[in-house]
Amino acid sequence: MLLIHCPHCREDREEEEYSYSGEAHIVRPLEPEALSDQEWGDYLFFRKNPKGIHHEMWYHAVGCRRYFYATRNTLSYEIIETYKVGEQPQVSAQGAAQ
């Protein structure tokens, strides 16, 4: 039962207010027509799905209606940080490994 800090509301709020929206920082290809089926399929469906540090999107659906990003450990469920769209994470899997 997660407690998630909304970077816009600047409060810790209950999980029930949010919905999960998948892996973060997947950029839509600028020229989809230029991609092979495999490259397009990769963008559509294939995910990192790591056990450990994961950057992901959350939607404050019953709240400020903003999407934002979280760095969360998918094993311990610890939320290391939340940050706004346009910002970069302070913690990454590579960084955490070091």
């Binding site: 039962m1 998948g22 089926d37 469906f45 294939f46 799905n49 790591p50 094993l75 469920y77």
Partner: protein
Amino acid sequence: MKKYSGFSLFKNALSYHENWQKLWRSPKPKDYYDVIVVGGGGHGLATAYYLAKVHGITKVAVIEKGYLGGGNTARNTTIIRSNYLWDEAAQLYELSLKLWEGLSQELNYNVMFSQRGVLNLGHNLQDMRDIERRVNANRLNGIDGEVVTPERVKEIAPLINISKDCRYPILGASWQPRGGTARHDAVAWGYARGADALGVDLIQETEVIGIRRKNGSVVGVETTQGFIGSRKVACVTAGNSGVVAAMAGLRLPVESRPLQALVSEPVKPCLDTVVMSNAVHGYISQSDKGDLVIGAGVDGYNGYGQRGSFHVIEHTLQAICELFPAFSRVRMNRQWGGVVDTCPDACPIISKTSVDGLYFNCGWGTGGFKATPGSGYVFADTVANDHPHPLAAAFNVDRFNTGALIDEHGAAGVAH
């Protein structure tokens, strides 16, 4: 392998049970195997069993990081049915159901497969259209099923509430009499014992930490007990598929999510079938011990923690109390979570990969347990022949590139 029977039980009781044979050996890993199965859950053990039994490939190791059947095999709600919508899925699950029907005898191990029937409830008009569609398709595929009225639902499960006045009244259901439940641990142990007797090495408490490749082909696996060679590595690691795939530099179209379940305290028999409702989200049956066994929906976020969020449990019990108001006073004894690998089309991946000799069987989502025998059967065939079994062909990973998905979400919502 010494055969189990009422007589063997009697004979062993005479000697105070001091002479029972071990169910399986605990061998040291050999240097090389013809096939290494990564993952000692039900599917992995079944794969090893059928490799040995059907294909005569006995130099097989099953490598399990924990204990046999300790993952989702040990954590599911044991529902078995084959009334899936799409031909591809229906045929695979029907193969599985047919194998279930003789499994205790095949393995000489009572997996307690109880064909008490499965009801899938419909609560709105679209549910009922989907049920009609699915049952019609099932029947033309040779799978038993019928669409039943609320009154018939009530006959099958007398404590269910079929009042028209409740929030989401039951408008009808699909009924598959051949569906039911089985004793989950016994399935793993039965396949393990059977595989072991055919010469398969079951190597527990050994974790695969790398997949060694040479020129795009598999040559073996690195484990916590050292390197073990093999030209064929078959990965069946539900809940960890993405992690294992990453060892070979692959990504999969799967996300690992928590799936939760719970049981009540044991109560006297009061529900003799399996009741599933996608619309209100609850799945319930009663075990032979008397526990009400209840499954929830998948949690909303990725997670490997084998636990999910409490509000999912709350929502599920709201649904159960809606369906069975009398169960409101029964108490939850234990709850737990597993990790399911979910695919975008709610169907599994049984596939060769871009790495020669590396095979994946994953992405079963919430539907893995019921598929155990069939999954093992077609995967063993695919690995043995290095060519997809006809029933596995549609489940290749390339479908996510071509777009030929098998969308079980379409009519099942959640393919439990």
